[in-house]
Amino acid sequence: MTAESLSRPVDPLSEAELKESSRKVGLLAFLSSVVMLFATFTAAFLVRRTGTDWKPLEMPEIMWISTWLLIGSSVTIEISRVTGRKMGLLVTLGLGLAFLFCQVKALSEMGGFSGALAENPHFSFIFVLLLVHALHLLGGIGGLFLTSLSSSRFGWVVTYWHFMGLVWIYVLVLLFLS
């Protein structure tokens, strides 16, 4: 048996190590798919805002609150991961729900699912991007809930949660500050 024939990365992995490492690979692949999704919306946004009917909107104040809530939730999940206390996950979950509440409130202040959505293309993008981000965050909230119940390790949910926080900041910059 030559060294070359054994170039299978780390060998042999225990079943648990293999599971953990597969989880990372799968998560990374999934996140790259999410990146492509938001990249597509970005491309559409950049094209669409050159239209003659583009009327830029101001960022609603409440989005500052939601942003700080999400940043805070990343801090609490990190504390939870470092200390290994699952209680922190429930705090994160609460902050996540508060974030979603603020998002809904921001959208309804701006006109909600009414005529405004059709009339202002900027608002159409705000609505769609907030919705798509919220749906992804809901997946994270589900993950937080399941992880807090199970006795296993933290798994994918911490990385995923941080990632969704970053995506939100990206969306915010794209929509209002670019």
């Binding site: 048996m1 070359e4 024939s5 054994l6 170039s7 299978r8 060998d11 042999p12 079943e15 293999l18 490492s21 597969s22 690979v25 799968g26 692949a29 999934f30 790259s32 798919s33 999410v34 492509m36 999704l37 990249a39 597509t40 919306f41 491309a43 559409a44 094209v47 669409r48 239209g51 003659t52 009917d53 583009w54 699912f113 005529g115 959505l117 059709a118 293309p121 159409s124 609505f127 769609v128 798509v132």
Partner: protein, 565 residues
């Protein structure tokens, strides 16, 4: 270990199974069922085209037929059969794993695909009929609910079915990618993977990166349809009765860009595994290692990269800036470089091969010739100047049917004949298989090559009744009924396949573990492969995937010559 928990109930064994082989067979059966539907749609289309005066369908339903034939064949037959079907069957066996990395996700992906199929089929029976905006779903036909009858409920169901399809396909791709990268057995380095597994890996990567573009486009399209937004709808659209629509500022071209950002890589998602299957078959039936393993792998990676930056060649006539058109032309023609390497490697693999012309090999040789001839037509379409003339003509129809139609179907059939003994435990009938081959390849080539000629004669695609126009060349028009006869013959020929498969499941000659004398790991498992794939330990890899040496043939798990039975 997961393989020790063998499922015992009927539901957990055959319906909601976690076993990659069961899921793969579920996918294959579903894909073949959808292929029958897609084929029947095609026959109706051909009947209308050849004998338009009989009005076998209405003009509106004709558009639905074209749309649904394309959608079903591309996504629900070829993607599902080649990638999900064979991917599931073979990836764990090829890499030496007991199952996929995420068996539960795998089961879920199939059971998300089932409602997608049902929604697609069901959309024929709703008010207004199935979607009629083409498989590309271009707005405004797809974005305005009242544009044509199929733009109503049919289009909504189409979008929902596609959304489910994408979810399912993404779950599948994550599984394939993770399994190939992470679940390889001892000794299975990346450069020892069978080429088919490489193509599955690459098509999974393309799928993960390209499908989100269609997801985003579909979300915006749904908003245009149901919330009155103008992502893709321009100002000034006029409807009789309602007058000028209030939409402003959107652009249908944006949708075309997003669609083809998925649409073009998607054809490589389909074609690459077809080539992978071909490599596996010609290695086993040519009794030699495929020529240029490494150059093939690198070329596949090049093709994958280039496939994601060439989408604009579907839109040369959309009024794009000629400089952008030039860019898309150049990168498109650049694909011929890595693709020629792959093609030459396939042909080179036949050099000094000891060919056994059994059924799977015939299909593999068919794939090589279809890819060569189909690719030739691509040169005319990839170049913006000639595409201006050929765009939306039967030349295009002939071209893509010869490439993603013929290449993938031949590979699908070849793959089924090749791996049938492994998963069923019996061989298919050789005489029936060869008959099926000739009854398939002759009408397929004749049909699609003649379509090229029709396109050159000026016949436009998607027209309900081409006889109403005087400009097409008369001899090109005269080909219409002949192509339809060939299509009927092709469909009839598939009955031989159906009979062969069903008969062989029960009465076929029993197969040994390795009936073809092949070298990759799946042939070291029993036929049919049991739950967990290998009854005792998973094999350890010592050799290259195709070790057909002058001193003998060695499976990948053979350590030294004495180990060979």
């Amino acid at each position: 270990m997961s393989h020790s928990h063998e499922p015992t109930t009927f539901l957990s064994k055959y319906v909601f199974s976690f076993d990659h082989k069961v899921i793969g067979i579920q996918y294959l059966i579903t894909a073949l069922f959808m292929a029958v539907i897609g084929g029947l749609l095609a026959l109706t289309i051909r009947y209308q085209l050849a004998w338009p005066s009989e009005n076998v369908v209405s003009a509106e339903s004709y558009l639905s037929l074209v749309t649904m034939h394309g959608t079903i064949m591309v996504f629900f037959v070829i993607s599902m059969g080649l990638v999900s079907g064979f991917g599931n069957l073979l990836i764990p066996l090829h890499v030496g794993a007991r199952d996929m990395a995420y068996p539960f996700l795998n089961m879920l992906s199939y059971w998300v695909m089932v409602p997608a199929c049902l929604l697609m089929i069901g959309s024929f029976f709703v008010e207004g009929g199935a979607a009629a905006a083409g498989w590309t779903a271009y707005p405004p036909l797809s974005a305005l609910k009242d544009a044509v009858p199929g733009s109503g409920m049919g289009q909504t169901l189409w979008l929902l079915a596609m959304a489910l399809f994408i979810v399912s396909f993404t779950m599948g791709s994550l599984n394939y990618l993770t399994t190939i990268l992470n679940e390889r057995t001892r000794g299975m380095s990346m450069m020892k993977l069978p080429l088919l597994t490489w193509t599955f890996l690459i098509s999974a990567i393309i799928g993960i990166l390209a499908f989100p573009a269609l997801t985003a486009a579909a979300v915006m399209l749904l908003f245009d349809r149901h919330a009155g937004t103008s992502f893709f709808l321009p100002a000034g659209m006029y409807f009789e009765g309602t007058g000028v629509l209030p939409n402003m500022g959107g652009t249908p071209l944006l949708f075309q860009h997003l669609f083809w950002f998925l649409g073009h890589p998607e054809v490589y998602v389909l074609v690459l595994p077809a080539l992978g299957i071909t490599f596996e078959i010609i290695a086993a039936f040519g009794r030699r290692s495929p020529f240029g393993y490494r150059t093939t792998v690198y070329s596949l990676l090049c093709v994958a990269f280039l496939s994601m930056i060439v989408w604009g060649h579907h839109m040369f006539t959309s009024g794009m800036d000629p400089r952008i058109g030039e860019y898309f032309s150049i990168v498109t023609v650049m694909i011929t470089v890595p693709f020629s390497v792959i093609g030459l490697n396939l042909i080179g693999s036949l050099w000094q091969a000891r060919i056994r012309a059994e059924t799977p090999m015939l299909f593999a040789l068919g794939v090589i010739s279809a890819m060569g001839m189909g690719g030739l037509g691509g040169l005319y379409l990839g170049t913006a100047t000639s595409d201006m003339y050929f765009h939306d003509s039967y030349f295009v129809v002939g071209h893509f049917h010869l490439t993603i139609g013929t290449v993938t179907f031949l590979a699908l059939f070849g793959g089924i004949y090749h791996w049938f003994p492994k998963f069923i435990g019996r061989k298919t009938n050789e005489l029936l298989g060869k008959t099926h081959f000739w009854l398939t390849i002759i009408p397929m080539f004749a049909m699609f090559l003649l379509m090229h000629l029709q396109g050159m004669g000026g016949i436009h695609r998607r027209y309900y009744d081409v006889t109403q126009y005087s400009y097409p060349n008369a001899s090109a028009m005269a080909l219409m009924p002949w192509i339809s006869y060939l299509a009927f013959a092709l469909f009839a020929g598939q009955l031989v396949f159906a009979f062969n498969v069903i008969w062989s499941i029960f009465r076929g000659e029993k197969s040994s573990e390795n009936p073809w004398g092949a070298t990759t790991l799946e042939w070291t498992a029993p036929s049919p492969a049991p739950h967990g794939n290998w009854p005792d330990k998973v094999p350890v890899v010592h050799r290259d995937p195709y070790d057909y040496g002058s001193d003998g043939v060695w499976a990948q798990n053979v350590e030294n010559a004495e180990g060979q039975a």
